[in-house]
Each structure stands twice: as C-alpha cells, then as structure tokens.
C-alpha cells in the first residue's frame, strides 16, 4: 500500500476554541490508482492534503493518528525524512492557478529549483529539464515560457506550470487540490486530461480533492465523501454514484444538474448550512440537515460500516428515503 492513513486528526487551536478540521480519518491509496475526496467547502478537505505532507499551518496541527507513506510515518518523521517525502514522494497542486508560483522568479527557475533539490542535477541540466517538463505539460514554446514570470502567463498556463513543479521531482502520489475550480470550462477539460495522462505516464497515484461531482465521475475509480471533518461514505465511484446510501451523498448528487435529466427532474438542495466545526454536537454531525435522522443519531458519530459493497457512516442507512 502506497499511502495508509489511520485515525488522522488535525485540529486548529483558535482563541474561540478547538476547530476539528479533520477528525478521525482513515483511508488507503494504492499505487497507481485515482481516488477522489469530495465534500463542501470548509469540510476539511484541504487540511487532509496538508496533513499528508506535514505542512498544516499554525495554529493548526496534527493531533493524532498516523500517515504512513511508503514506509515513512509522516506525522512522526524527522525533518530530513519529511523533505524526502515532500516533492519526491508526494507532489501537490493547489487550487489558485499560479498562486503557488513565486512572482519574483521565472517559471523555469522555479521548476529547475525543485529538480536540482530532489534529483541532484546541475543547474544547466535542471534548466533543460524544466523546459522539457513545460513541454510535457503541453505548453507551447516551452523555451520561451521558461523565461517568463508568472504574471506573464495565462491562468491555464500557470496551472500547467504549477503541475510541472509538482511532478518535477517524480512523485509517486500527486495530490490535486481543486485543480480546476478557478479555471474556465474548456481549460478545466484540458487540465483534467493532462492530469490523467501524467498519472498514466508516470505511474503515479492521484488524489483529487474537489467539490465537483463531475470531476470525480470522470477521473476517479474510488470516491471518499467527506462531511465536517469525517468520512461518511467510501467506495467504488460508479457504485456510490449510481446508488448513494448516505443521505449526504444523496443530497450532493441530487443538487447537481444532469444532462438528459429532463426538465421535470427537480434540483434538490441540501437544507441547512455546514455546521460550525468549532461547535459540533455529539452524535452525527449531519443530523441537523438530515431528512432521516432521529433521536437515535444524537449519541455517537456513526462508524463507517460496510453496506452494499461500500463503507457508509449512517445509522439509517437501510431506511428508504421516502421524500
């Protein structure tokens, strides 16, 4: 197993109290597979990604659990071990195209820096490798772009350059945190295709973090649905989407417009708002918005249990939705 996450918990210690951004997450990623982590904004998805790299920003920190990547426990690793995991083990692409690029250095230089750091190439070789990588990202005229500064590139090109930085140390796992959210639709398509091709060519695993169900259906074999810091449904993507069992997953799918759904099919939103992570009630955190919940849900958060070929965290999982 390439990545094993067990009971991962990352809390933010704020003046107002303890914010449980990630609370007891367990999942695996196999070598070469594509997994999607889905959930609303603010449910802790990005913090999961940062925890995997050991870069949760202060005042947050990982308070429990383990992240085992390729034999190294990231949570307890020494700084030197961590630096080998970062970049060379796990690469990450952030949401905002180009925000991950330093405005004061050329794009090529920033890629070459990582190549030099992790692959021990000379400056000259690294510069050439940077150009080659930019070409591989399907950027036209890579020699010219390598000498450009981030503000001189378009959003799509910046995102490609960011991906080039992320894969330049040949990571075995690439995390893409909302890689297409800030881009327009045609560029989204191209970036997704690029990520898919890189994953096959480099034999990487791909962890896609998104709130876009369409992206998941297209890219991922497995899907993990996250709600308020916890996983609520995990399983084969096709099966989960065809037959969602957790009321939250159903809500998510119901709120996405479909081609061919017909004009009669109503769009159903999820009532209520995302709960305040600072002040989660005991029991199921989805209860206030749940159409099925009752008094039996108020005691403890339901455990992930196998149901119909996937894992689902819901006491009411067998009940039919009658509404």
């Amino acid at each position: 197993m390439l990545l094993e996450v067990r009971d991962l918990a990352a809390y933010f210690f704020l003046d107002e109290g303890v914010l449980k951004a990630v609370d007891g997450l367990s999942f695996d990623v196999e070598a070469g597979e594509t997994v999607a982590l889905v959930g609303e904004s603010g449910c802790g998805k990005t913090i999961v990604a940062l925890s995997l790299l050991g870069v949760v920003p202060s005042p947050g920190r990982v308070v429990g659990g383990s992240v085992r990547f390729d034999g190294v426990d990231v949570v307890r690793a020494s700084p030197a071990e961590l630096r080998r995991v970062r970049g060379a083990g796990i690469g990450i692409v952030f949401q905002e195209p180009g925000a991950a690029l330093n405005p004061v250095h050329t794009v090529g230089r920033q890629i070459a820096d990582v190549v030099q750091l992790h692959r021990g190439l000379t400056k000259h070789e690294a510069d050439a490798e940077a150009v080659r990588l930019l070409g591989e990202m399907e950027i036209p005229e890579p020699e010219k772009r390598a000498k450009a500064y981030p503000h001189e590139l378009s959003g799509g090109m910046r995102q490609r350059a960011t991906i080039a930085v992320a894969v330049s140390a040949r990571p075995r796992l690439l995390i893409a945190d909302e890689p297409t959210t800030a881009l327009d639709v045609t560029i989204q398509r191209e970036i997704l295709d690029l990520l898919g091709r890189l994953q096959r060519d480099f034999g990487m695993s791909l962890l896609i973090i998104t709130h876009d169900i369409g992206v998941v259906e297209e890219m991922a074999r497995r899907v993990m649905v996250m709600y308020a810091g916890k996983l609520v449904e995990v399983g084969d993507a096709e099966r989960v989407f065809r037959d969602p069992r957790h009321p939250y997953t159903r809500g998510l799918l119901g709120s996405v417009p479909r081609l061919g759904g017909g004009r009669k099919t109503p769009l159903v939103g999820i009532s209520g708002v995302v709960p305040d992570l600072l002040d989660l009630p005991p029991g199921c955190s989805f209860l206030p918005r749940c159409p099925l919940g009752d008094a039996s849900c108020t005691a403890v958060f339901p455990p992930l249990e196998p149901v119909a070929g996937r894992l689902c965290a819901c006491y009411k999982v067998h009940d039919a939705i009658t509404t």
Partner: protein, 381 residues
C-alpha cells in the same frame, strides 16, 4: 553578418561602453564610457599624486589609488562580460519582465530620482578619491595668520577656516566620514533587522513572541539618549559611530520584516515551497526575502539620510567625530562661531549636507513610487 558584428563588438568592448554602443545599447554604453573617461581623467590630472599614493603606507591614500585601478579594470571586465552575455543571448528567447525590471523602468522615468542617483554616486566617488582630489592638505595650519578666514576665491574655492585650512579639502575629506558612516550604519541596521525579523516572522509562535518582546525593550530606550550615553562611554570614531547608529536603528526593520514574513508565510507559493520539500533557509533566502525586499530598499535609502543626519547632529554637538578630523557636522559647528565674519565656513558643509540628505530622500521617494507593491500587483493579476 550578425556573428561578425558581435565579435567586432566584443573587441570594442575593451574600451568600456564602446561595445554596447555598437550593439545599440545606448544608455549602458554612454554610462560606461562616461565613467571610464571620468576615472581616466582623474588619473591623468593627478598622476604624480596617484603614483605617490600607490606607494604610500597611509591606508586611505592606498585605498584611493587602488580604487582607481580597480574601477578601470572593473569597467573593462564588466563591459566585455556584458557584451559577451548579450551576444550569447542574441538568439535565445528573451527573459520575461521581472517585477524588479518593471520597477527599474518606472524608476528611470522619474528624472528627479535619477538625478539624485548621479549626485549620490558623484559624492561617493569624490569621497573615496579624496586624497587624489583635495587641492590642499585638509589639516595644514602652517601659515595661520596669512590664510585665516579667507573668503572663497579661485585658490580656495570654499574659503578657509579659523586655522587657515582649505575648506574644500576639508569638505572632501569630511565627505568620507559622513557618507561612509551613513552607508555603513544603514547596512548594519538593515542586516541585523532583516535577519532578526526574518527568523521571528518565519518561525512565528513562541519564537516570534520572545524575539519581539526583546525588540520592545530595545525600542523602549530613547534612542538619542542611548547614543549620547554610548558616545560618552566609548571614544567616538567612525567604527564606534557606525556601531552605535546601526545597533540602535535595527528594531524598526526587524518589526517590518517580521510582519511582512508573517503575511507572506500564508501565501500559497510559500506553502507550495514547503510542500515540495524545500528546507527553511532556502525558503527564507530564495522566496521570502526577495518578496519582502522592495520596502526594505526604500527604507534603506531613507535610513542613509537619517544616519548621515544623526552623525552630523552628534558631531555638531561635539559628541561625534572630533576635530581635527573633518566631518560635515563638526565643520558646521566650527563655522557657527564665525557666522557673522566668515559665513562660508558653516555654509558650504551645511549646503553639502543638505544636498546629500535631499538626494537620498528623492532617491527613496523614487524607489517607493517605482516599487509600489500595489502597482506591481496590478500586473500580476
């Protein structure tokens, strides 16, 4: 055709600037050429003094002579190197416009700021070459009775003081003291402040807390009285003054850099740099400091003016550089007694002081306008 033109230019580059002119780089070419002519002119004009200075055991003489030689060699070397570089890059795609280059272009459009750069460079050149340029010995008091308080004339352009010393020569030597103290004290203050603030801001948390409380303690001392006390304890010379001025002025920079780092730290490109496994010193040096540098540059220019002013103030009060070593501050002080009979004694050093302070302020203004982060951001977005 292009190739032969380039080798031609490389050969011409042996005369600094000529190669650039051939390649059509007019601005750089003219500057290099003018500088070379200026330095060679000094060399020709003061050849006997130059030879004497080269063999001299007095450090300041030797430094002046060496600087002259080194700056000619440097100009030739730079000119050839730069022409070669331009030749090499002729076929390649041009580098994009860095934020610094965009700022440079804006700075060049500000003629007042550019003029102040010329003034400052000229002043520093004169200061370094003082032993070669000064028309008279700045501390000779041989014929006091005949040469005392002479008004400005062709043989004494700025007149003479109460001991019959040539004021122009004293002003030139005084420039060394005032200008070097200003520059060095600024460097000391900015180096300490930047390093200190960088560490506090990058690591944050309790490290930041402890370090910033220490800064509060330093700031709580009234700086001027602290300086007065220190110059009372130590004998004031250039080194002591540099240290005193530098060591009392760093907390502002430290605070600023720390604040800047705290906000930069949250930026995605820093998070990204950490995520890709870059070690902390590399992140600080390659990513954080370049991003926080431009405001420091602006405050450095203001700070030089402040330091020169502070040194002049201390020397004026008799607490800084002591006569007979000339500094603009103590020259003004010596002139104030004779203001009614010999206005020139206080006027010229005072005017020089004002010129330099104004030049540095204009430079700082120009830098600030050119480096305005908001104006830069508009181009990023």
């Amino acid at each position: 055709m292009l190739d032969s033109g380039l080798t031609h230019a490389t050969r011409w580059a042996l005369l600094p600037g000529a190669g650039h002119l051939l390649l059509g780089r007019r601005q750089r070419g003219v500057h290099l050429l003018a500088y070379t002519v200026l330095v060679l002119g000094v060399l020709a004009w003061r050849w006997d003094r130059f030879v004497h200075a080269l063999t001299s055991t007095a450090l300041d003489q030797w430094v002046a002579a060496l600087f002259l030689v080194a700056s000619i060699a440097g100009a030739v070397w730079f000119s050839v190197w730069d022409v070669r570089r331009l030749a090499r890059q002729a076929g390649e795609p041009t580098r994009g416009k860095s934020p610094m280059r965009i700022a440079m272009r804006r700075f060049r459009a500000n003629s007042l700021a550019v003029a102040s750069v010329y003034v400052i460079v000229l002043m520093y050149l004169v200061a370094i070459l003082a032993p070669l340029l000064a028309p008279h010995d700045p501390s000779s008091i041989e014929h006091v009775m005949e040469t005392r308080y002479l008004a400005p004339s062709w043989s004494h352009l700025m007149g003479t003081d109460e001991f019959g010393r040539d004021l122009l020569s004293r002003a030139i030597y005084g420039a060394r003291v005032s200008l070097s103290i200003g520059l060095l004290a600024m460097v000391v203050a900015k180096l300490i402040g930047t390093t200190y603030g960088a560490i506090a801001g990058y690591f944050g948390g309790w490290v930041d807390n402890v370090m910033m409380r220490a800064v509060d303690v330093v700031i709580a001392f009234p700086t001027f009285y602290l300086m007065l006390m220190l110059v009372g304890v130590f004998e004031a010379n250039i080194v002591v003054l540099v240290l005193i001025l530098g060591l009392t002025a760093w907390p502002g920079t430290a605070r600023f850099i720390r604040g800047e780092f705290l906000s930069l730290r949250e930026q995605e490109f820093i998070e990204s740099a950490r995520s890709i496994g870059l070690p902390a010193p590399a992140i600080i040096l390659r990513h954080l400091i370049p991003s926080a540098l431009s405001p420091v540059l602006v405050s450095a220019a203001f700070s030089v003016a402040g330091m020169i002013g502070a040194e002049a103030g201390l020397s004026f009060l008799g607490l800084g550089i002591r006569p007979p070593t000339p500094s603009w501050g103590n020259m003004v002080s010596a002139g104030q007694d004779a203001l009614l009979v010999a206005w020139w004694v206080a006027f010229f050093p005072g005017a020089l002081l004002a010129t330099v302070l104004i030049a540095f302020s204009l430079l700082a203004d120009g830098l600030r306008d050119a480096l305005d982060p908001k104006a830069l951001m508009r181009r990023y977005l």
